[in-house]
Amino acid sequence: MNAVTQNPVLPLPIADLRAPARTPQIIARQLGKEFISDGRSVVALQDVNIVIEQGQFCCIVGPSGCGKTTLLRIVAGLETHTSGELRLAHFNQTKPLLSMVFQEQSIFPWMTVEGNVEYGLRMRKVPKAERRDTVRHYLDKVSLTQFAGSYPHQLSGGMKQRVSIARAFANDPEILLMDEPFAALDEQNKAILQEELLRIWEESRKTVLFITHSIDEALVLSDRALVMTARPGTLKADIAVPLQRPRGAYEIRSSPGYAELNERMWKELREEVMNTRPQKEIA
């Protein structure tokens, strides 16, 4: 049928050779999600097989409505899959397993920037002094120190997403799940936030699963890009992104290999996007 790159359960050599460990952290086998809508069964995900290594920055690219958000929500534990198996490795149980950065406005409007960033820590009952230090560190990283006491309604869209990113990192999870966090931002803000994200990520090298519909974004950020098919979503291609790090959001576009990767991804995606276009009704 389709040439899905079947990942064996055993770890494969991966693109980024600097990643210290090659232990799998997220393993999905034959993962599927079906739900009933208006009495009809809809298959959102089918036979998803992925092995994501610890410390890997992995982007999932796919046409709108392909189920990539569903996949992320399943990994996050906000939804459950209806077939197959999902395994998540939790190496250090004193830290949380995962935190998510949501697509839309998800920071609590009734808490200050500081209150939002420390939310995960507060839920884990981390002592106040430690919380303050962590919050200060990440607010500095996303250049929001002077807005610590502000409420979200006083912030711009880009600043709100920064808070959301700082909140996820401050919780210090092993896995970060990001659902198109920059989709609503303008081009310049997007580039700046991508670079900020890369800088913060470089210092901790957490496992990241990042959903996007943008090929550019996937190439700027990831070690590895997974292309998904149109609904029912499954994996179509597994593309290593061996571009040098640290990366700049604009500089990377002129680095050797970028154009070829871009073209290859577009070829893979194009077909799927065409498939999602409304087709002529068959009587």
Binding site: M100, F108, G120, M123, H153
Partner: protein, 278 residues
């Protein structure tokens, strides 16, 4: 051969002078807002003194002020205006709290637990439309004509308004905030205190404001029907004794309580909801 050259009409737009206003329009509006009622009072005074208005129904503002002074300072304590006001205020407050606190708790549970909502909603739907005054006789049968029946009628009126507002507030919290809570492993209690309650607070406060309005209404009604004290009693006694000045004092006092308390609720709201865009 050629098109006749027409002279275009030129529209000239001149610049306007930069105007610096010494008094802002907002300040003028404020002055007008204070001045108009004062002018009306003056007119009222003039019309009654010149006998255009019937003094029996519309006593002069100056005589109402005199009566106010008399009722406040020249009466025995348990018949003074201060005493009646305090009695009324304590009834309203006790009734209000008795209604509002359980309403917030039950409303929050209704908002978060669909099965509880399904169970409570039809009961609320059936009882809410009954005008609360209609059950006052029943309450007086149950609780007697003492304080308890007044607390009860006020509490019931407040309860429904706050309950409905709280349940709606909690139920309408954006799903995503609950997802965030789940993602950060917020427990049940933490979900209530850090998400459900603060998220619903704007609507809860709106419900409390409505509830306070109806508690003043029910207070006066209950005091008129069965009481020997309170502002409602004062107004009713004034009708029975035909002491119109006393009646006006009662009206002014209850209006004043209404205005100040809503002003206090506004102040409380901006303290409680600093995150709301105003």
């Amino acid at each position: 051969m050629a098109i006749p050259a027409s002279t275009p009409q030129i529209e000239v737009r001149t610049s306007s002078r930069l105007v610096v206003r010494k008094v802002s329009p907002a300040a003028i509006e404020r002055i007008v807002a204070i001045l108009t009622p004062l002018l009306l009072l003056g007119l009222w005074e003039a019309l009654t003194r010149s006998d255009v208005l019937d003094q029996r129904f519309f006593p002069a503002p100056s005589s109402i002020i005199g009566t106010f002074y008399h009722m406040t300072f020249n009466m025995p304590w348990d018949n003074s205006l201060t005493y009646h006001v305090l009695v009324s205020l304590s009834r309203a407050l006790i009734g209000f709290l008795l209604g509002a606190i359980p309403a917030i708790v039950i409303g929050a549970i209704m908002g978060l637990v669909p099965i509880v909502r399904a169970a409570v909603q039809p009961i609320v739907g059936a009882l809410f439309p009954i005008p609360k005054v209609a059950i006052l006789p029943l309450l007086m049968l149950i609780f007697g004509i003492g304080e308890e029946s007044k607390w009860a009628i006020i509490a019931i009126g407040v309860f429904f308004q706050v309950l409905i507002a709280t349940a709606a507030g909690v139920a309408n919290i954006d799903r995503i905030y609950l997802d965030v809570g789940a993602n950060f492993k917020a427990g049940r209690i933490a979900t209530y205190t850090s998400i459900a309650f603060p998220g619903a607070l704007p609507l809860i406060v709106a419900g409390l404001r409505l509830g306070w309005g109806s508690s003043l209404l029910l207070l006066v009604t209950a005091e008129m029907v069965s009481s020997q004290s309170g502002i409602g009693f004062l107004i009713w006694r004034a009708w029975q004794l035909m002491t119109v000045e006393d009646m006006y004092v009662g009206l002014v006092v209850i209006a004043f309580i209404g205005i100040t308390s809503f002003w206090l609720i506004d102040a409380l709201e901006s303290r409680l909801l600093p995150w709301k865009r105003r």
